[in-house]
Symmetry: C2
Subunit: 349 residues, 2 copies
């Protein structure tokens, strides 16, 4: 794919950093040979790993710093003392226009707080949201917020819906994406006041957003709508519950195939089909949570992913930049210019 | 199992009612031969189905009514006009002492509202909660609330923890059950004010409740704690997300095994092990959501279950009665007598 742009990488974030970042970038390089990288981190650790990878070295500029944000660093102290950290410098490269997007597998809270501060929210967006793509029975669904905002008012939820709609159109290529609001029941009268108000507003702007109404937890995997909107608390619980359930079934499945000689043989025979299935729900394929609503592209990789997963997170950032996601969000918001003056503003938060 | 008591059944609740209720009771009868049933519903529909089942007929008294609460009935109208419904009469049999517990596969909202009104909450419990047992990598975990209370204050959450603790001890037989509070992160400072206050209180009474701290969505299936506490909104989303994810993987797995001749053969060879695995996560095995915190035992069966699932819901009700769950809750609450006067009372709701 011929895309020519620069991505900033936080080389020091993630459980296996900087190795996964370098190996991930090298994998991404094969898919996007024209992309360049600004790699922020400790040169003494990066150089020995990158030197054998001549082609990656050719497209990478290493920006040395020995400050790093760990997973244990509190957000407040990251903001106070992290200005020279690899994470902050990588974000700052996007702010200053040296890079078109940033990818980090480090501390989520710090990455979000620093990105928000450095990149600012887009005009018309009060709060950024974390979005990710879920595999479903019908294809793929994008869901947000997955944890940036523990509490959301109706206005936030409506803004998330617009961002999700634009994301599905531009990055996933869905025509007229349908949008559902996560709730405890599909009946109209159910749920919090914030959800009720958001639903009322979304029904009003149904000419521009294809609002499907309320959806429930099982609609995520069913793929009942192309976009699912939720506050960050509920979305995070749903995301992690999905991961936990998948791991449980994988564990039980492994035991089943080890339970007898005949089961082992059965596994060998069904191996190709099973591998295809595993690939379809492989969390590494869906790695890369997007911070939507900022003036720059920022993608959070899972901290425990491998090079394949990290390469996918880089791919997500490139897709967002190449598809002009942020420009289209801004346009989309203009089409829904009424949001900010709606009564939903009065929702508690 | 020799348990001698009477269970009231709402014969008209559920997608396949009254057939699943009658067939379910007949299955339960084999496990609990000494249990008697009061079966409420339309005699004209019940009699033809129960007549061929002589042994069930021997232990069942049919109480005719032609009023029924459908899934579409609004809670308010169920409360106003449903006094002669099979659901309400079954609950009332528990209130009046004619039955030790009630099981219904009907409208959840109506069942909860009617049960609350007729049976009242236990002394020391402000709100009942819906609880269910989840299969986990380490065994079984009980989680509550799964939808009775969309919003909960800290006091409610602490009361849920005590009920969950007693449930795990008495019904699941867990010694010193550990208890986790569902949150978006395990760090102490995360989450809503209500959750923070509930955690502070649970830490204070850690001599009686083995409070493990915050847990995340993936801890449910991991079985990180024996009891998981949540508000009803989040709990319901987590429950349904689990169901949806399991269905997705089951769907993909089915496709994998149908993808080639060799995969089909593999399935046949591994069939026994796979069946065991399927049984371990069979939602019918975990059917029967308990309404905890009422003066009587009330169990909600999934509306779409079959006779096997309904029999399990009956088994849950019998287990709760036979293990003296409500008496032990009352005792448990006495041991934690301080809850009601705690600052957590001031939590917004």
């Amino acid at each position: 794919m011929s895309v020519s742009l620069t991505i900033a990488l936080d080389a020091m974030g993630g459980d296996q950093a900087p190795a996964i970042v370098i190996n991930g970038a090298d994998l991404a390089r094969r898919r996007f040979p024209d992309v360049k990288y600004l790699m922020f981190g400790n040169e003494n650790q990066i150089l020995p790993l990158i030197r054998p990878r001549k082609r990656l070295l050719d497209v990478t500029e290493i920006m040395h710093t020995d400050v790093l944000i760990s997973n244990e660093t509190k957000v407040s102290s990251a903001l106070r003392r992290g200005r020279q950290s690899s994470m902050h410098l990588a974000i700052d490269a996007v702010r200053s226009g040296k890079a078109a997007g940033v990818v980090s597998a480090g501390n989520t809270g710090a990455l979000m707080a620093m990105s928000k501060l450095a990149l600012k929210t887009l005009p018309g967006i009060d709060r950024p949201a974390i979005a990710a793509i879920f595999p479903t029975l019908r294809g793929e669904t994008v869901m947000l917020d997955l944890g940036a905002n523990v509490e959301c008012n109706a206005k936030n939820l409506v803004q998330f819906a617009i961002m999700g709609d634009v994301f599905a159109r531009t990055v996933l290529g869905t025509v007229q994406p349908s949008c559902g609001l996560l709730n405890v029941g599909s009946e109209e009268m159910k749920g919090h006041a914030e959800i009720q108000q958001a639903a009322a507003h979304l029904r009003k702007i149904s000419e521009t957003i294809n609002f499907h109404g309320f959806v429930e937890g099982d609609d995520i995997a069913a793929g009942s709508t192309d976009v699912i909107i939720s506050d960050g608390f509920t979305g995070n619980i749903a995301l992690k519950t999905t991961e936990g359930t998948a791991r449980l079934i994988k564990g039980f499945l492994g035991e089943a195939f080890r339970s007898s000689l005949s089961a082992r043989l059965g596994f060998l025979l069904a191996h190709r089909g099973l591998r295809k299935m595993r690939d379809r729900i492989d969390p590494r394929r869906y790695n890369g949570a997007m911070f939507l609503g900022l003036t720059g592209v920022a993608v959070k990789s899972h901290g425990g992913t491998d090079a394949f997963g990290f390469a996918n997170a880089i791919g997500v950032a490139i897709d967002m930049v190449a598809n002009g996601f942020n420009e289209k969000i801004t346009l989309g918001l203009k089409n829904h210019g009424t949001i900010e003056s709606e009564p939903s503003e009065a929702a508690t938060n």
